[in-house]
Assembly symmetry: C2
Homo-oligomer: 450 residues x 2
């Protein structure tokens, strides 16, 4: 909003601000999944259970959720860990997703969006005490929740760099370097992974995940797998592999020892229900004492929003073939994911046609993170404004086109490189226009500072 403020009162060369800066699908016009909202409405106002305009399968889900709530109402507190039957549904979902690898409802914690889970578990892990400060490994570029929470907790942020030349892959040698150097001044205990990547959009190969798990096992690192984009995989040849599944398949030496927390959310995927703040974490091999602390910490805040828990239930327990709502659900889901795949390709192709812009394939998630090569004079002009060069670029882009994107410096990047993050959430035709405008802006920018 500060950025927007700068342009207020001045006649603008655009008619509309396009907020391509945040992964907020419904704000960009994506329609909610009908079935999810039907169940939510039934839970909210149970009189509707008598209405013929709601399908039976939605009513069945709503009755089941309400029966598990105190006083059969979304208005009661749930257990701090979340409503029992919803945790069971999450566990069943994980088991299905991972081809039968079992999940225990007791290891599932419902959260206020994934952010809440991530910051809660980091708080527990960092507060462990010890002589030196706790080091937390995070990818660079990263989603800034991590750096913010690490700083809040007075832990040490340990950067490992993703390999831009290699489609933002995670290289275990780079992890090794980061840990080795970190050990000189802190105690590296946690390794955060974002897969599919935010802001970088890469999807990790099974081999890479194995390597990471082996490394975590060697170094006794707690693995924190941010898997909120697990439904958002577009590139042919890419598939989502959960850390949990790979861990299990690597055998008991790994699966009984490596500590892992993984996160999911109602906010991303094909449902984009950000506002409900629903999420879960699955935590395995957690030391019983730490688990006790976790439960205590969670209980202070009473419970996550029960409406968000209900939304999470529908995400993990959607209509299945044979149910009345299945066809419509399938159509809606495929339409959202199909469009995202189309837009991922379109964005990559169009960015790579712009001179001075290099964009890796958007294998997953919902962002492009192109590298922009800025002329020396533009860098000087930014410095004259005491701005990071990519911040300067993004400000100019906003002022001249109304397109709002986030400078790479907000996520971290190798020194001397510049990027921005743009969502691919605008509808296809609008996105095409946006990309065309960015292209024109970029060419003019290069000319101006040549």
């Amino acid at each position: 909003m500060v950025i927007l403020g700068k342009t207020m009162g001045i006649k603008k060369p655009f008619t509309e601000v396009i907020r391509a800066n945040i992964g907020d699908a419904q704000a960009m016009g994506q329609q909610p999944i009908t079935f999810l909202r039907q169940v939510m409405a039934l839970c909210t106002y149970p009189n509707l259970l008598d209405s013929p305009s709601f399908p039976e399968d939605a009513k069945k889900r709503a009755r089941r959720i309400l029966q598990a709530c105190g006083g059969n109402s979304l208005g009661s507190y749930s257990a701090s860990q979340g409503v029992n039957c919803i945790r069971e549904d999450v566990a069943a979902y994980i088991t299905r997703r991972d081809g039968g690898v079992p999940a225990d409802p007791d290891n599932i914690y419902l959260t206020t969006g994934a952010s809440d889970g991530i910051s809660t578990i980091l708080k527990i892990l960092v507060s462990g005490g010890g002589k030196s400060r706790t080091g937390v490994l995070i990818p660079i570029p990263q989603y800034p929740l991590y750096s913010a929470v690490i700083s809040e907790l007075d832990a040490v942020q340990v950067n490992y760099y993703l390999d831009e030349e290699n489609c933002w892959a995670l290289n275990v040698n780079e992890l090794r370097r980061a840990v080795r150097e970190a050990k000189e001044h802190c105690d590296p205990k946690v390794l955060c992974i974002i897969n599919p990547g935010n802001p970088t959009g890469q999807v990790q190969s099974r081999k890479c995940i194995e390597d990471v798990i082996h490394f975590a096992w060697e170094e006794k690192l707690f693995l924190l797998a941010d898997e909120v984009y697990q439904d958002n995989v577009y590139s042919p040849g890419c598939r989502f592999h959960s850390f949990k599944k790979v861990l299990h398949e690597m055998g008991p030496e790994y699966s009984s020892n490596v500590e892992l927390a993984s996160f999911h959310s109602t906010s991303k995927g094909y449902m984009g229900e950000c506002g409900y703040r629903g999420g879960y974490m699955e935590v395995i091999n957690l030391h019983p004492e730490i688990k006790g602390q976790l439960v205590k910490l969670l209980s202070v805040r009473l419970c996550p929003p029960v409406s968000g828990q209900a939304a999470m239930d529908i995400v993990v327990n959607p209509p299945v073939p044979g149910e009345e709502s299945f066809e419509q659900f399938r159509r809606e889901k495929e339409s959202v994911l199909g469009d995202l795949a189309k837009k991922a390709k379109l964005t990559e192709d169009l960015f790579n046609q712009v001179p001075g812009v290099q964009c890796n394939p958007l294998q997953g998630a919902m962002y492009a993170f192109p590298r922009i090569f800025l002329p020396a004079r533009a860098v000087e002009a930014a410095q004259a404004h005491t701005m990071a060069p990519d911040m300067f670029y993004c400000m100019k882009l906003l002022e001249e086109t109304g397109i709002c994107v986030v400078p790479g410096s907000g996520f971290g990047q190798r020194e001397g490189t510049y990027h921005f993050r743009m969502t691919i959430l605008p509808p296809v035709e609008k996105l095409r226009t946006v990309l065309q405008k960015v292209k024109e802006f970029h060419i003019k920018f290069l000319e101006k500072y040549a």
Copy 2:
């Protein structure tokens, strides 16, 4: 749940566990306010806006909320501080409540229940730095959120004792003593007040609030007023006075200088919508730099649940005379509050008929916090079980009657005194039975350990 576990598998002398331990109205059978749920259902599933079974005033509210949401959907993120029009409605509510004392929407922050607001503001105030640790004054008995957050933040808990002999009144001389002693080992910076009291149920007089504000002004303490029970005042002669209003009426020397955060919630009052995790805080005279930190901290967690924000909107913007839903709303509201008032009196009267039990009037909130006089042999028996004596008492009560209450030691109490907290949320006739059972249990307990 640990407590309940102890009784599992053993044949129990009761047929039902009565959870009188937590202020969870709907779990005890209270029905949601129809209007609130209608608006929420309309917001959740906007197709219902065409349904003739919903009243126009509910539709009007729903349309207004949706228009203020990104993509007209509860599924979008809101601004971190909350949806604009809801913050405006909160400000208008406060202005009405306080007889015209103005409230600025810019000072309103929507939160994930009041707990979130309280812990967030404490985090900001404690992280201020300085040589000695920050002291936070809290009443004893207190709601344990405070002690938990203070301990999490590694701040110093500074106890001031409420005056049980004087209906749990807050005595400024006791505040003075607490601050004087605290200054020897920490830097007291924050004064927390719970009014109406939890677990103690007292309603502070206007005079008392003035004295507290004057004291905070003298000592430059940040005032933190937990006013979530502002609608729950029962005793004739008692009235809720907001700290904000009294502060304003004390004149500019106070109203421009004393820093105050006050909290409200959807969870208590007559609506009891705990599960939605809605709440707000109003923060005045906050130092701009601290305000900047607050906004930054809030933005890390993206936003409070938008459904909870919508619920908060209905709490502050209910039907008014002349609107279609007003009569039903008024009836439902008065029925809940009327029953609570009846139950408050009933509970006080019945407890005071029991030998060895002393119960102050339940002027407000939704709890009784009777003092129980335990025989020396009961105290010894508890010690033999390495339990606090009131914990021992509550365990026995649960095992023998199925009634679940919370020992006073969970809230803090003067040494050598024992209490428990019991909600008055069960329906009137059920509450009467519960009280009768507690009486019989207590008499038997006294006999056993005489």
